[in-house]
Amino acid sequence: MNSERKKKKPRVAVFKFASCDGCQLSLLDAEDELLAVAGAVEIAYFPEASRAMLKGPYDIALVEGSITTHPDAERIQQVRRQARTLVTIGACATAGGIQALRNWKDVAEFIRVVYPSPQFISTLKLSTPIAEHVPVDFELRGCPINHYQLIELIAATLAGRKPNIPAYSVCLECKRRGNVCVPVAHGTPCLGPVTQAGCGAICPAYDRGCYGCYGPMESPNTASLTSQFRILGQSGQEISRAFRSFNAWAWQFRKASEECERT
């Protein structure tokens, strides 16, 4: 198997859409594993890291960012056509990102207010996840992604096995880590129960509630959590804002944020 691998390394490409680059950088950040990755795959297209710009098709396309412009809506179709496996990385690609906050507002007005020459700006009304445009094989969550999960995904894909990337709540990681639960012990609102694990429960370890970076878990009961937030003294607007961050446009968070917006 090893020799076979050496013969034909899988070709990996990294594409960027509307995003901050943080997720791609997570790959470069994976210091210990980076060389192993570089040895195991052929980086065919990764403008952030390498000058090589080889043509497709690619075995794995990692896609960062959301779709916010007409040209990007076209380009993602080309990426999909060239990719055997398409993996979205991060909250932008998977849920529309923080820039999806504009989806509740008038973009034309933003453009008028922000840009000195608004006539040069051409943008879509909505910031949308990749899966709204093309079929996606795997969605890697997080804002930013956890590089261990990315490495695990690459390792699993190379080995032909299912990645260990659980869809349950942050609470499992939080309890395994030995954190004291912040809503129960301190009255701090925490999105952990409705948020997918992956970060290792960082925020509760530092006395903060979970911000929901990894988006909705497999069976998020946002209505029940909303009632709990109210018991902790949060107003409907505050709860709405809590659901509207990096994963605001993920439908479960979006629905929850709209339901309590005006109460």
Binding site: M1, N2, R5, E33, A36, V37, G39, A40, I151, E152, I154, A155, A156, L158, A159, R161, N164, P166, A167, Y168, S169, C171, L172, K175, R176, R177, G178, N179, V180, C181, P183, V184, A185, H186, G187, C190, G192, P193, V194, D207, E218, S219, P220, N221, A223, S224, L225, S227, Q228, I231
Partner: protein, 379 residues
């Protein structure tokens, strides 16, 4: 077995007890304050114990607050249990590598460097350890990870003289009197005439440790005071579980409307199973690395509240939160009896306090029972 030793100790002796156990080679673990809660951690001396603290617990709510009596063990159980040490949240089962086409196992989990001494094991926790002993040691397959930690462990129990509002051990028959086997059992008394401990030891190990402390035989009056204090902890309990016929009650009510009501509140977050001192379920995950030359196998706490837990060919069996909550409650209180000969619940109340939605299993059982009785009367 030697005759039971019953002695009165001054509170300063607890510090000596900790140091004595450490001198005997134990890693002494006990209650301590961290992040606004009582957790278990290494204690070097009495200064690490939660002296002067007490707690207030309710469904979905826990607060530490200053106590009035300067007791060392004035707190009820916190979010953690001794399962943290005996059945750890994650264990590397083995590592393996591949060289020249050969796959080699590089060894499994080592037992702890020093055996554990647990200080401050409550009656419900002793009962929980006995439940996990039954599950993990006394079946055909013995769990070596648990066994290597459990077998040499030295247990210092502390009887409760006050109960949290979430406690219901009295109705489960597991406390607050210590009934299980501990090496040493302490009862802390703080009253008008002073602060002292009753220490009781049945076996040789406990008696040897006790013999090193300054003590005098306990008087009948002191034994009576200790008994009354523990009885008052039972009398304080505001929650109770009616366990009469509970196995059949739950088996016969698989389609009770109450399951839908609790499912509307349940977050399927798994906190209840993580904090439960008897829940033992784990999952096994392999990490094969990018190069494929090295692999690790990890065991991690899992829960019947996750979708993957019931994943079989084609999908998960328990997709609804109703099915998952029902699994947890029914396993805990009913099918556990068929499987292991006792209830899986010892009445510690952790799942009530640490449920972020404040779901209370005693209330759920009560509701199911209430409606059944009502139905029977009508019929």
């Amino acid at each position: 077995m030697a005759e039971r030793l019953q002695a009165r100790l001054a509170p300063e002796e607890i510090d000596k007890l900790i140091r004595g156990l450490a001198r005997r080679g134990y890693q002494v673990l006990g209650p301590t304050v961290r992040d606004g809660a009582i957790v278990y951690d290494e204690v070097a001396g009495a200064q690490d114990l939660p002296r002067g603290w007490t707690d207030e617990q309710e469904a979905g709510r826990y607060r530490l607050k200053p106590g009035t009596d300067g007791a060392l063990f004035g707190c009820s159980v916190g979010p953690e249990s001794w399962k943290k040490y005996l059945h750890p949240a994650q264990v590397k089962l083995f590592e393996a590598d591949r060289q020249d086409g050969l796959f080699r196992i590089l060894g499994g989990p080592a037992p702890p460097a020093r055996p554990y001494a647990f200080l401050g094991v409550r009656a419900c926790e002793l009962a929980a350890i006995a439940v996990q002993d039954r599950v993990l040691l006394q079946d055909k397959y013995r769990d070596p990870v648990y066994g290597s930690r459990r077998d040499p462990a030295f247990l210092v129990a502390v009887q409760c003289t006050q109960a949290a509002a979430t406690c219901f051990c009295a109705s489960m028959g597991t406390g607050p009197q210590v009934r299980g086997a501990a090496d040493l059992t302490l009862t802390e008394i703080v009253n008008a005439e002073g602060h002292w401990f009753l220490a009781e030891a049945d076996g040789d190990r406990g008696q040897e440790v006790l013999a090193e402390l300054d003590r005098r035989p306990a008087t009948d009056e002191e034994l009576r005071l200790a008994r009354t204090a523990v009885e008052s902890a039972a009398a304080q309990q505001v929650r109770r579980m009616d366990t009469a016929g509970i196995r059949d009650l739950l088996y016969q009510n698989f389609e009770h409307p109450r399951w839908d009501e609790v499912a509307a509140r349940c977050l399927t977050c798994a906190n209840c199973t993580m904090v439960c001192p008897t829940c033992f379920c784990t999952t096994v995950e392999d990490d094969s690395g990018v190069t494929g030359d090295r692999a690790e196998r990890w065991r991690r706490w899992d829960s019947c509240f996750t979708m993957a837990f019931s994943y079989i060919h084609g999908g998960s069996v328990r997709t609804s939160s109703k099915a998952r909550y029902r699994q947890w409650l029914t396993h805990k209180l009913a099918s556990w009896i068929d499987q292991f000969g006792s209830s899986g619940c010892v009445g510690c109340g952790r799942c009530i306090a640490w449920c972020p939605a404040g779901i209370d299993l005693t209330e759920e059982v009560h509701a199911i029972r209430g409606a059944v009785n009502h139905g029977n009367t009508d019929a």
